[in-house]
């Protein structure tokens, strides 16, 4: 796995001309801004519950378009919970619900009558453990989102989307000769890039990533980070990470979550530009956390 950098260059070189026409081809949303302007998310007074358990309290934050926002904080403070509430994955847990608003470019995703499935089409997700579909080939994995969502899609068009997604995920050169082989036969880092390709193939507006590198070695991690830096050209990205260097390297904004006493709900302490958080944070708790004094 020493080729990521070479791979990146290769992908960049061949990718650029492809990028323009595909934007609206793959989004089912009606006429809107050009594909490379993604959407912003606004959380307002968000309280998140697991049944009777109050997991996250009073979070208000703006997640800016075409930026990488990192969520950091000690284990159990509700980062994953908050992230999953941003595309309504949270409510898949029995008894789980939220109180408050999450707006995608001004439209409340929790408004009555909103279909969570439609929300998730616009706000995609990449998980901690690479999870390619084991019954599907590499090609089918990337095509899965489109195939399962849109009934009719022509083979040449699909080929194009798959190639573009794989190039975008810096995986194309590694897998182009074995697209029909199962995705579970790839290495962990390749699988994670496959999952990113799968998530980007449906052209969501926002990409949520929950510790996407924690199962990967340092080289694969760097590959994914450089990938994230490129993906923000097209998507708004929110990433949960336990790795301070990663937050510092890969993000534009950083949000620090904390939990005061065990049993209390997690809260957002502050959110600011990553540089500011890592140099002159407003709160002493943030300062303590990023300098490694607890958490």
């Amino acid at each position: 796995m020493s080729q990521p950098s070479a791979d990146v260059r290769d992908a960049n070189a061949t990718d650029a001309p492809l990028q323009a026409p595909l934007g609206d081809a793959a989004t089912s949303a009606p006429a809107e801004a050009p594909a490379n302007v993604a959407k912003s998310i606004e959380a307002r007074d968000l309280d998140i519950y697991y049944g009777g358990f109050h997991a996250v309290a009073g979070v208000s934050m703006t997640i800016r378009p075409n930026k990488v926002t990192a969520l950091i904080g000690s284990s159990g403070c509700g980062k994953s919970t908050f992230l999953r509430s941003l595309n309504r994955m949270h409510e898949l847990v029995k008894g789980a619900y939220v109180d408050g608003k999450v707006e995608l470019d001004g439209r409340d995703i929790y408004a009555a009558g909103t279909d969570p499935v439609a929300v998730r089409r616009q706000i995609g997700m990449v998980f901690q453990q690479p999870n390619p579909f084991p019954t599907m080939s590499i090609y089918d994995n990337v095509a899965a989102g489109l195939r399962l969502n849109r009934r009719k899609i022509k083979k040449p068009e699909l080929d194009e989307v798959v190639e573009r997604a794989l190039r975008g995920a810096h995986l194309w050169t590694e897998v182009k000769d074995r697209l029909d082989k199962p995705g579970s036969g790839l290495s962990g880092g390749q699988q994670q890039r496959l999952c990113i390709a799968r998530a980007t193939a449906v052209e969501p507006d926002v990409l949520l990533m929950d510790e996407p590198c924690s199962a990967l070695d340092p080289i694969a991690t760097v590959a994914i980070e450089s990938l994230i830096a490129e993906l923000k050209e097209r998507f708004t990205i929110v990433i949960v990470t336990h790795n301070m260097q990663q937050a510092a390297r890969a993000s534009d904004y950083t949000a620090f979550f904390n939990i005061e006493r065990s049993g209390d709900p997690g809260r957002l302490v502050e959110i600011d530009e990553t540089q500011t958080i890592f140099s002159t944070p407003a709160s002493p708790a943030t300062e303590a956390y990023i300098s490694g004094r607890f958490g």
Binding site: V117, V119, N131, F133, P134, L148, N149, P182, R198
Partner: protein
Amino acid sequence: MSASSWTWEDHRVLPTWAPWAAGGAGVAAGLLALLAGVALVVAVLVGAAATVVALIPWSLAVEGSRRARDRMVTLTVTGAFALAVAPLISLLYTVVSRGIDRFDGALFSESMRGVVGEGGGVQHAIVGTLVITGLATLASVPIGVMTAIYLHEYGRGGRLAKAISFFVDVMTGIPSIVAGLFAYALFALIFGPGVRLGVMGAVALSLLMIPIVVRSTEEMLRVVPHHLREAAYGLGVPKWLTIVKVVLPTAFAGIVTGVMLAIARVVGETAPLLITTGAVTSVNANPFGGRMENLAVFAYNQYSNPGVPRDPYIARAWAAALTLLLIVMVLNLVARLVSARFGVRQR
């Protein structure tokens, strides 16, 4: 474990052939005992004891108590395994050796129509078994799989799901004759008493199959990792499509195995078919066209009511049993091929 007290010389092990040698000694001792005229069971016990006596003290002397204990446990487990497969092998041997007599072309090409004494075949019974079991499978697989999907994917822990789950457990325990009587009573209500149809047998068998299919499918759905469902939801795929395109294909091999187990369980059923499909001597492939023979009932009837002379009847019964065994084996093989072809792909 300090390094100084540990040398290679202190830790010798027996040669790899040692257990085989001990086993050989055991077999020899058992054979000698047989020659001396003791009963088979006693000879087997003698052989087992001889194996232990040959191996354990030797191991204790050379290898020490930890390995000797390990060997003792290995012997016990091996013995238990042998005990478990002995009846199976004996059964296979008996069925094959007695069934092979009449395992000829006529067995498959002829029915018992007009046959008295020698000759004849089981074509009508094979057709019946395939039609009845096939219909039962056709009915129980969709019902069973969909019930399992409801129980595991939708109803989780709800009151309805709990009630269904309870009744599935109850169904598992239904004696097969009761299933047969139920099917008979049901059809007697419609067609009047004394009715015998292939489809009645299929209904009775599907009552027995459904709970097995439900339980095994549920078990297979349970092992489909939750993160695969989440991956699909994260792509904006609706729940039902996730189940159809992601969950079921992932569980496919296991579901097929479960269905096979259910088929194997009912294909040899005799009692419920005796009262629902009856017995007949000619080929009938129409499940709605009156009586229908099947292999299990055929074997039972040939064996319990032989004509004079008895021998051809008994031979036909064994040949029918052998055919049944082969059908189950072929089905298993097919299921394996199917699940290898369409199941989760590795590499």
